[in-house]
């Protein structure tokens, strides 16, 4: 029993080492950035050295001084603490968008590919109409109708991304549907749901994961943009997009650090996610042969 477990562990760790070697320095750097941002999103408010929401106008725009590594923002709040606390809304928002649109996109794509005919036509043309709405525009429209805030923006973006997700996955699901093993399972009497859940979706799994990763980057940029416009996360809640908007005056006043620091956080995470997503796409493609 113990030997079996030990053998399994070495195989797993060997695979881990091989994966690290295959990803190279860019992959390792990306993994580090993503882990750090996730850690900050989970524990940010606890890690923050100072109260991220406590203003002190006498310290407004003050530069970095002992203990306050990134200085103070326009209201005299500690910038580093706000970055750490802001990781939460900046990371969870895109995560929600990805979960919503990838789940709905997978369901629609697999349904369309499985049933073909009328269902496929209805789903595909419904999605074609959604192509008419750019993500940011739909988010602004949602804010006008339902009021500004992260939930409306996140739902709007999930809907706007749906056709892009579903189109790629529908193609993959259709290829899977035509594989001989699917026909064999049908002959054996397996139900459509069981075949889809146990075989089709797991087999297009790598593509779903790659798609979700790339989508996270887009969602992060678009959600930050909506928050920058004042229609997403509402101040005084800390958020990277909001921080750029509220500290933009500092650029002309000679205090660019607060806005730049928030911008760099967004760019670092998006680059990392893009690098990782591209690798995952290559792997998914290679696996399919």
């Amino acid at each position: 029993m113990t030997t079996v477990r030990a053998a399994g562990e070495t195989a797993a760790s060997r695979r881990g080492v091989a994966l690290l070697r295959a990803t190279g320095p860019a992959g390792i750097a990306s993994a580090t950035v993503i882990s750090a941002a996730t850690f900050a999103a989970a524990f940010g408010p606890l890690l923050a050295p100072y109260d991220p929401d406590l203003p002190n106008l006498s310290l407004a725009w003050a530069g970095p001084v002992g203990g306050h590594l990134l200085g103070y923002d326009f209201e005299g709040r500690d910038v580093l603490s706000r970055l750490l606390a802001g990781a939460q809304s900046s990371m969870l928002g895109p995560l929600a968008v990805v979960i919503l649109s990838v789940t709905a996109g997978t369901l629609l794509a697999v349904t369309a590919a499985w049933r073909r005919g009328v269902s496929d036509a209805v789903i595909s043309s419904g999605l074609n109409v959604l192509f008419a709405f750019p993500g940011i525009l739909l988010a602004i429209l949602a804010a006008a109708v339902f009021g500004a805030g992260l939930p409306a923006a996140a739902i709007a973006l999930s809907v706007a991304y749906l056709p892009y997700v579903a189109r790629v996955l529908r193609g993959a699901a259709l290829r899977e549907r035509n594989q001989p093993y699917v026909a064999a399972l049908e002959v054996q009497g397996a139900s459509a749901t069981a075949i889809c859940l146990r075989h089709v979706i797991p087999n297009i799994g790598p593509l779903i994961v790659a798609q979700a990763t790339i989508l996270f980057g887009y969602a992060m940029v678009d959600l930050a943009a909506v928050s920058f416009l004042g229609l997403g996360v509402q101040p005084p809640t800390a958020n990277w997009g909001v921080m750029i908007a509220e500290n933009q005056d500092g650029l002309l006043l000679g205090h660019p650090l607060p806005a730049v620091a928030a911008g760099l956080c967004i760019v670092a995470v998006v680059i990392a996610v893009n690098v990782l997503g591209e690798r995952l796409f290559d792997q998914a493609r290679a696996a399919r042969g």
Partner: protein, 317 residues
Amino acid sequence: MRRWRFVARRLVVLVASLLVASLVIFAALYLAPGTPLAALSGGQPLPPASVQVLEQRYHLNQSFPAQYWYWLENALHGNLGVSITLRENVSTLIASRIWTTAGLVLYASLIIVVLGIGLGVVSGLRPGPFDGGVLVVTAVCAAIPAFVAAIALIIVFAVKLGWFPALGNGTGFLDNVRHFTLPAVSLATASLAIVARVTRASVRQEADREHVQTAVSRGIPARQVIRRHILRNAAVPITTITGITTASLIAVAAVVEVAFSLNGLGAYLVQAAETKDIAVVQGISLLLVTAFVVVNLLTDLICAVLDPRLALTDSPR
């Protein structure tokens, strides 16, 4: 013949998706919490006379489809209603801002086409250090959102170097160009990088193909090989990605207009969304969606001209 059928089918799809999109935009009135009247008045109490005007304008006492039809008919005649905050015709308000947005998007598209495709072609044709540099730089640039590019450009070129103004539209053509340069560059940054990467990949792929190597070995001049055998074949993916990214600028322009305090449609749309000026939001959304869909259609049509096989193999989806 089949080519015209292709164009006709695309036009039908265009009209259908615009109809549905306009229905969604109109239905915003009903999706909003409260009555359509409350949505139209921005939630503020109105004198009975104005209520009556709104009821008549939007035919609120008739059925939903009838209301939609009247609204659409008005919109097609350029009558988009009245702004509740500025008490002016939405079409007039749009007309005074449309050139800012159009100029910004065109300027950015020009930058993308010249620099993005140019960089992509050069680095696709010449593997080496330049190509490697382009790959790294474009990977970074593709991840820079327009508003982050905006703050970086303001810091360097407006505050440090003082070459370009940081805010505002400017007056007169040359001054406009000066004022629009930083906004256009920040709008173009991410798309430029994506266009360059896709261009590079498709040029490289075509350059490695056997017929190109045969042409080179037969002693056909490089210039001719590049033009006839590499670029001609790579043209379709390059056009597609340029078209898609250019179309997406139409919405992202809002972010850049706000960052640089430009008086354009996007900035006005954001302001209207904040004040719940629903007639303005509907009017601008309708216009931007139309522009977005039309640019995408044009991209499809240009691709079909570049590669007639696309029109022949196109099947109704």
